[in-house]
């Protein structure tokens, strides 16, 4: 499988990374060289093999359904690039989303 320029643009759009037209050409070459190398996985027979999702076969624990933290508004907002403080609380600020 080989990526065309339109696919590179579509992936970049899905990944929310702005790319220039020159970037697209270069990325197309680089990504195709990586994907061509990855193709060798098709030599491996994997019929009936259960996919391994993690490094160890873990049984996930349950914990008590209790509040263990919270009320850290200032710590959470401390690194905000932009914030608004209003009478009803403090928020992360972003460009207008809804007209």
């Amino acid at each position: 499988m080989s990526l065309d320029a339109a696919t590179v643009r579509r992936i970049a759009d899905l990944a929310r990374i702005a790319v220039s037209e020159e970037d697209v050409a270069q990325l197309q070459t680089e990504l195709n060289s990586i994907l061509a190398w990855i193709e060798q996985l098709n030599e491996v027979g994997t019929d009936g093999v259960e996919p391994l999702t993690g490094a160890v076969r873990l049984r996930l624990r349950l914990r008590a359904d209790e509040v263990t933290e919270g009320d850290r508004h200032e710590a959470i907002l401390a690194n905000a690039p932009d914030r608004v403080d209003t009478a009803s609380g403090s928020f992360f600020a972003v460009p207008k989303v809804v007209e």
Binding site: R16, I17, A18, S33, I34, L52, I76, V94, P95
Partner: protein
């Protein structure tokens, strides 16, 4: 007495306990060394005031007879661990001036054990790289020099700053992380010892995530014993990390002198690559001979899917990275570029400006292999191959207790070499990546020098949660190799 910066952790601990050396003097000697050798670019942030305060407290505790296991030991922290109140960058522009309001579990445990914080070390951006040349804060210089060649060499990556700092004697030990070889490959390139423990041994909480099913923290130090001392304090169950293993942490240091008598050690034939350098082959055979002389039984074994580990990794790791790095959007922390459009434009402009070329490449590969129509062909296929790689090891453990391999296919290369295409760089991790995919503990231990006078290392891979046997065998290799070469640039 040796220079304070030349001490091992075990030696410093001994001198501190007997009050023959103060933590303050030890910290000062290292801070001076860091400043003098700033051209190595091993540190992104030096925390001199913090180090002095930590060491003063350590001296007080020692005087009161309340010393903890690492009391007064100056260490450096890979700048991928969140440190409360200390800027944490992951060597990326996108984190900008991010100053974590919390502490990673591993570093919290180290401070609670009395360690002194010297600062945060440089790395490949988001730990993605094998040469420490993808850092937004510039490349790190390996303190070693090839004989008759004055070019700067890479320290390996991604934990290149930690490895260079330990090798150049800018700290007694350092934290690092390993997703595909990022502890062991830089340790090998700098003549230091690095262990990636079993997946789940160290909490990932507060470590900037790259590929969550592969990432593990571990130490880099100058001796096997020092690595064991550090790992004991870094490891342990943490309810904050759902994949943290609820198993007891043994006294790794006690295992260091245990020896290898009666152990069965496997030599996997698939690691003998076509065209592999004769020096690496000879080193590997020498390592097997040392272990045999120490009483181990060496056996050839087969790990048939080895060849497919790297391509499988380059699907799984970018897929997880594309998901983990989705959080860098310019809204809650870090860099924001607002081109004056809508929210999507803000995301796209921020991420274009904030991510370097290698990170962008991996996020795009990851996005592609997870996208509709390609998921089964790439991601699911890679997870199945990963299962086969893990099964290879499961079968090997029925025959052997440990596996011996080279750590890297070459010694350190010059900055700018191996950068023609991404795949050439990826091949650096060919011997290390299998242990990440299977979640196994693996150590890199210096074992000799190549023709150019650069360090070469061997790798020992162990059963899950059997770091003790890994340390025991690494100590045998260390003793037999009697590796005492020193880097050209050091404090």
């Amino acid at each position: 007495m040796s220079k304070p910066t030349d001490l091992t952790i075990a030696e410093a601990r001994h001198l501190l306990a007997r009050r023959q050396l103060s933590a303050r003097d030890l910290a000062t000697a290292h801070l001076e060394a860091i400043e003098r050798l700033g051209s190595l670019n091993a540190f992104i942030t030096v925390t001199a005031d913090r180090a002095l305060a930590d060491s003063a407290r350590a001296d007080d505790r020692i005087a009161r007879g309340e010393a903890r296991p690492l009391e007064g030991i100056p260490i450096a922290v890979k700048d991928l661990f969140c440190t409360e109140g200390i800027r944490t960058t992951a060597a990326s522009r996108i984190l900008d001036d991010f100053t974590p309001p919390y502490e990673s579990t591993v570093t919290r445990k180290l401070w609670e054990a009395g360690a002194v914080c010297l600062g945060k070390t440089n790395l490949d951006e988001f730990a993605m790289g094998s040469s420490n040349t993808t850092s937004a804060f510039g490349h790190v210089v390996n303190p070693w020099r090839r004989r008759g060649d004055n070019r700067d060499l890479v320290p390996g990556g991604s934990s290149g700053g930690s490895a260079a700092a330990v090798a150049a004697r800018l700290c007694l030990g350092a934290t690092a992380t390993d997703t595909g070889g990022s502890i062991r490959q830089p340790a090998a390139f700098t003549g230091t010892v690095g262990i990636k423990p079993t997946y789940g041994r160290c909490s990932r909480w507060g470590i900037v995530a790259f590929a969550s099913s592969l990432d593990q923290a571990g130490p880099i130090a100058r001796t096997v014993r020092d690595a064991a001392i550090l790992l004991r304090e870094m490891a342990g169950f943490d309810p904050e990390d759902a994949t943290s293993a609820d198993v007891p942490v043994p006294d790794f240091e006690a295992a260091v002198g245990r020896g290898v008598k009666g152990l069965r050690i496997g030599v996997p034939r698939e690691y003998r690559l076509p065209g592999m350098s004769a020096e690496i082959v000879a080193l590997w055979e020498q390592g097997a001979a040392w272990l045999r002389e120490a009483g181990a039984e060496l056996r050839e074994i087969s790990l048939p899917h080895t060849k497919y580990a790297l391509p499988a990794y380059y699907i799984v790791a970018p897929a997880e990275a594309s998901s983990n790095l989705a959080r860098y959007d310019g809204v809650r922390f870090g860099l924001r570029i607002d081109p004056g459009g809508d929210l999507d434009d803000l995301y796209a402009a921020t991420r274009a400006a904030g991510f370097g070329a290698e990170v962008r490449r991996r996020v795009l590969i990851g996005t592609y292999v997870l996208s509709a129509g390609y998921y089964d062909a790439y991601y699911l296929k890679a997870q199945k191959v990963r299962a086969l790689i893990a099964r290879d090891f499961d079968r090997a453990w029925q025959e052997v207790d440990l596996i011996l391999t080279p750590a890297t296919p070459s010694s350190a290369f010059a900055i700018g070499e191996k950068q023609d295409d991404p795949v050439t760089m990826y091949l650096n991790d060919i011997f290390t990546v299998t242990a990440n995919l299977a979640g196994l503990p693996a150590i890199s231990v210096p074992a000799g020098l190549d023709g150019g006078g650069l360090p070469l290392a061997l790798q020992l891979i162990g059963r899950p949660f059997d770091e003790e046997t890994v340390f025991a065998a690494a100590a045998v290799v260390e003793r037999a190799a009697a590796f005492d070469a020193l880097p050209a640039i050091r404090a």
